[in-house]
């Protein structure tokens, strides 16, 4: 007699055990420490913090370790943790102008006040796997070059252009920006909410969309006006004190794009803007975000919406990799009842079709 | 449909025009698309709006069909119960109901007025289903009747319009609109983009339907030949304003305004 399969609970317990073993790998190999992940896989940590929406390097390192290096799984862990955190305060807006910069470049001018500061970038490396560098115990830390103190002021390119009136002023937003994590997103969404969505959106998705604009799907003639990576102070203003208090510092990557100029019958032409911001050194993310931000401003700038990157609903509803991963992977769950319903239907339709053929 | 603003309550339906447009203005930034446009349309009358591109005739149609909100002016329509309502003083549900039942809109490009991926029968039946028709057989029968009326083979009732020729798509668009027996139909270059012989057949059909069904219509076109064939009266637009109006034959055979004279003279006869 047929006996229904049971044991789902035991299967799950066994699966968790196997996972723990796989996570550890061969026990002869030294276990990865959190400090190692934080220090030597720093860019993975930066991405997990950015898309997980929590700035905590150690926490991100834990998530990466627990997720066996699967960054989207790690981002999920961080988001789930974030849900439980109490909200103590809202900081003042960070001032990237006052950041202590480790990297600052601009593609719009050959030379500018403050100069081009390359920082620790892959940009001019030759992508040849360095077997010496990557050998165990093989990496030699070179002696650090004497870094010149950046004493000169570093005014923003957008500020310089703004003085001449060549670039649109930063569009004013609502006095109180909405909080994407507290209220469901409704369309059309204002720029503040769009930027929040993009900041925590999947880097791959934004990269592809940004790329699409460059390939002609609503091109907006971008120039990298300013890319900055540095440390900024986080300040809060407790009501009891009445003055701002610095509670810590974080590293951010910021990108200001200078885009296609626009004029109208009443206003002379000006460059337009795109903006990107990410935690840590997620420079590629910030650049892609700036391209997509500009594309999503199409309606506001009187441009025809013709490409996916300009379509608010398309971009903002599908940018979150935690949501995407969940739904794509949910196909693994049992669907046999619905499948049974479809089997019933298709068998009936086929019977009807063969009966109809036989009747002819 | 009860929250309609009442203006004139006519003594009889024939003292009030079916549609009255007064002082319509529409700008796009600094560009004046329509300036102080006024006209009236009576039941069963076909009004042609002619002019070259940039004359404002399409903007006028978009305002009258509520796709654009005018900057000034009134658009008053006489409802089936005799009351007159202003188009933009109506609630959105009331306006949408009007668009779906009492009015028809035939677009220049049939793609804009059809569901290309859905069968011809469903396209024609949609208006009926939107207002509560729930008997499949009747909906299908109605659709078949209308396909016949617009000279589309009924055997094609289950084919999607994607597989139709341009002329057939246009005829399907007409059927899709007329199934709800509208009293007013707006048409934007209904024969645009069609071969000349196909155009002739379509115009014949339109003329026949308008007269058989007593339809009032506004036909926007740059083609004076289309206007002569379909319209009882004409208005000529130039740079957003009406420069001349009158009976079709009078305007075309004896144009008064220099611009109209220019238009008429430039047709190769």
């Amino acid at each position: 007699m047929y006996v229904a399969v049971k044991g789902g609970e035991r299967a799950i317990a066994a699966a968790h055990q196997l996972l723990a073993e796989a996570r550890r790998g061969k026990t002869e190999v030294p276990e990865l420490t959190l400090a190692q992940i934080e220090e030597q896989l720093a860019l993975a940590v930066d991405r997990v913090m950015t898309e997980g929406s929590v700035y905590d390097r150690e926490l991100a390192a834990r998530a990466i370790k627990q997720a066996r290096g699967d960054l989207i799984e790690a981002i999920f862990l961080l988001r789930a943790y974030r849900t439980t955190l109490p909200r103590l305060a809202v900081s003042l807006p960070i001032d990237t102008g006052a950041a202590s910069l480790k990297r600052r470049i601009s593609a719009t001018f050959k030379d500018l006040p403050g100069g081009q500061l390359l920082g620790p970038t892959f940009d001019y490396t030759h992508r040849l796997i360095d077997f010496g560098l990557t050998a165990d115990g093989g990496s030699v830390t070179p002696s650090p070059p004497s870094a010149p103190e950046p004493s000169e002021a570093m005014p923003r390119v957008s500020g310089l252009l703004g003085e001449e009136g060549l670039i649109e002023p930063n569009p004013a937003g609502e006095a109180e920006p909405g909080d994407l994590t507290r209220e469901p997103l409704e369309f059309p969404a204002d720029r503040a909410l769009r930027l929040q969505n993009l900041a925590r959106g999947d880097e791959g998705f934004l990269l592809a969309l940004g790329y699409s604009t460059q390939r002609g799907y609503a091109r907006n003639h971008p120039f990298a006006g300013e890319i900055r990576i540095g440390e900024v102070e986080i300040e809060i203003m407790p009501a009891e004190l009445g003055f701002p208090v610095v509670i810590g510092e974080i590293t951010v990557s910021e990108c200001e794009m200078v885009n296609q100029f626009k004029g109208s019958a009443t206003a002379p032409p000006q460059f337009t803007r795109g903006y990107g911001l990410a935690f840590g050194e997620c420079e590629r993310k910030a650049i892609a975000m700036a391209l997509v931000d500009r594309a999503l401003r199409a309606k506001e700038l009187g441009e025809e919406v013709i490409a996916p990157a300009q379509d608010q609903e398309f971009v903002l509803s599908q940018s979150d990799n935690v949501e995407a991963s969940g739904f794509v992977q949910h196909l693994k769950l049992p669907h046999y009842v619905d499948f049974q319903a479809e089997l019933n239907l298709i068998r009936r339709l086929r019977t009807r079709a063969t009966e109809a053929d036989a009747a002819e | 449909m009860n929250d309609l603003s009442l203006t004139d309550v006519a003594a009889t339906p024939y003292e009030t025009p079916l549609l009255r447009v007064s002082g319509l203005c529409k700008n796009f930034g600094a560009v004046v698309a329509c300036r102080n446009v006024s006209f009236a349309l009576w039941p069963g009358e076909v009004l042609g709006v002619v002019g070259e591109s940039g004359s404002g005739k399409t903007t006028l149609l978009n305002c009258v069909s509520a796709r654009l909100q005018p900057d000034a002016g009134r658009i008053e329509f006489q409802l089936r119960d005799g009351r007159v309502a202003e188009l933009f003083e109506m609630s959105e549900p009331a306006r949408r109901m009007l668009m779906r039942t009492d009015w028809g809109i035939v677009h220049q490009n049939p793609r804009d007025g059809l569901r290309l991926g859905v069968s011809a029968g469903a396209n024609v039946g949609e208006r009926l289903m939107a207002v509560g028709a729930r008997h499949y057989g009747e909906i299908r029968g109605n659709a078949a009747d209308w396909l016949r009326k617009v000279e589309i083979e009924v055997a094609r009732i289950d084919d999607p319009p994607r597989t139709f020729s341009g002329g057939m798509q246009q005829r399907l668009q007409i059927a899709r609109n007329l199934v709800s027996r509208p009293r007013l139909v707006l048409m934007d270059e209904p024969t645009g983009g069609l071969d000349v012989s196909v155009q002739a057949r379509l115009l014949d059909l339109l003329r026949g339907l308008c007269s058989e069904l007593g339809l009032a219509a506004i036909v926007v076109t740059h083609d004076l030949g289309v206007a002569r064939l379909l319209a009882h009266r004409l208005t000529v637009m130039r740079r957003g304003e009406i420069v001349e109006s009158g009976l079709t034959d009078q305007v075309l055979d004896d144009p008064q305004h220099p611009y109209t004279q220019l238009l008429v003279a430039s047709i190769l006869q």
Binding site: G8, P334, D338, L343, L349 | -
Partner: protein, 287 residues
Amino acid sequence: MSEGEEQTAGGYNFAYLDEQTKRMIRRAILKAVAIPGYQVPFASREMPLPFGWGTGGIQVTASIIGPNDRLKVIDQGADDTTNAVSIRQFFAKTAGVATTDRTSHASIVQTRHRIPETPLREDQIIVYQVPIPEPMRWLEQREAETRRMHALADYGPMYVRLYEDIAQFGRVTTAYDYPVMVNGRYLMRPSPIPKFDNPKMNMSAALQLFGAGREKRIYAVPPYTSVKSLDFTDHPFTIERWDNSCAICGANDSFLDEVITDDRGSRLFVCSDTDYCRQRRAVKAAE
């Protein structure tokens, strides 16, 4: 339900969500109950289970469950499927509530893809897990437009879809997640339950709550509300029937799962609702 922060093992609040969030969700639920079938947007939280795996249902359950409740969780009609086990363990861990696999013993039933065969009572609540809440999503991708269509009761396009099915196949080819009209006003998606289960929603004695976590919508059908599956008067809605009965308990009125038993394609059919099947077997054994 206690007001303070009751800590369970691991330092989490009762049923995981903080009280503010539960309040927010309950407000959404109340609004949903007041407007049967209408999708209420809510600020869905990230949960420790993935989006698409029942987070909406979990958030709804977490907001209404109390220490005296008895929870049943099913997936495909069975208590023992892996995700149902996982969700039940989640609530056992974060709320410490009693759980059961008997429909008649539960005060809350959270379900994926089925309605239990045993009729529900007035003192019970059923919580459905919903992947896509919008019934017109396949006709119109844009949320802004579907919201307008609901507001104006502009449901013509939905009937066009049904018409097309009948024109092409002679019948409506939607086998599950079959759209319904709730209280004569709002078009609703019942979640991917087979259409076999649709009639159970009509005039149910129990409160029916629907949670879509990823899409961030909650909707509800209050007890004793009319729920009508869309159809044409000359092509009325019908439910599936099998030529077989359950190989275990003999039922011919329940939804049956097809099971392939050997590599030559032999198959038999058993009740999808494991609790119902077991109860019937118990009755038969007693005779």
